[in-house]
Amino acid sequence: MRPTQILAKGRSAWKGPYFVPFSGLREALTNHESITTQARSCTILPSFVGVRFLVHNGKDYTPVLVTQDMVGHKLGEFSFTKKNFSFKYVFYPFIFRLMLIENI
């Protein structure tokens, strides 16, 4: 088994993993700056370890700190696109509630 096959699951081995060459990678490592990106499908390479990314989730950019264990995953896996569901709770002030009850 080739090492590339482990890295690129389900993708042809000759293509290798899909990644985006970020230009400011070295500066980001040294200056602890974060890289803003929309490339959610970019595979995390070993050279990305320690870099802070701001990954787009469709609405805004969420911070992702790359660790050693994340290598081989995609950037988008760590930037969630869905909110947790919760029932809407509308808070009415006390007087307003009294008025509502009196109307009924």
Binding site: T67, D69, M70, H73, E77, F78, F80
Partner: protein
């Protein structure tokens, strides 16, 4: 009733279906195991010889350390038999020499077979890895929800049953 690794295989079942009772052995691997043990297609569990049962148990307990399968190649199409004047011992010696020269890589598909507790542990570790790095997959497992984008408005019953951090 035959017990293999603490799993009992019912007597009346056909071997290749009975083997699928083992966690991690499906119809495909069951067929391969049968071929390895030279169990015929319609053999039932009660018809297994004691040797086959012991070899099955020894193979399943440690597939990686099991002895490799003997590979005796068939004759090529342009094979001409040697003249009958040569003695059988000499023929045997030649054959053994040829065998030594051949270096076949072991391509045993059952070598990396994982069953029962070993497989369960592997699955648990994979989920724990996803959870530890904080990926979407790990989060969905922790929430008992489908991982691969299935609908959750209704049902999602399998996910609710299976998607746990600690699988039973």
């Amino acid at each position: 009733m035959v017990h293999v690794l603490g799993i009992n295989l019912p007597d009346g079942h056909v071997v290749k279906f009975a083997l699928t009772k083992i966690y991690g052995v499906g119809p495909h691997i069951a067929n391969r195991l049968c071929a390895r043990l030279q169990v015929h297609d319609k053999c039932k569990v009660k018809d297994l010889s004691p040797f086959q049962v012991t070899s099955l148990a020894s193979f399943l307990s440690s597939p990686t350390t099991s002895p490799p399968l003997p590979r005796l190649p068939l004759a090529s199409p342009d094979f001409t038999p040697p003249p009958s004047t040569i003695s059988t011992q000499e023929l045997q010696a030649r054959f053994n020499e040829q065998l030594k020269q051949r270096t076949i890589k072991s391509t045993d598909p059952l070598r990396n077979l994982k069953i029962e507790s070993e497989l369960r542990r592997e699955i648990r570790e994979n989920i724990a890895h996803q959870r530890m790095i904080g990926s979407y997959v790990g989060r969905r497992h922790a929430m008992h929800l489908p991982v691969r984008g299935q609908n959750t408005q209704n049902n999602a019953k399998t996910a609710r049953k299976l998607n746990r951090l600690e699988r039973n």
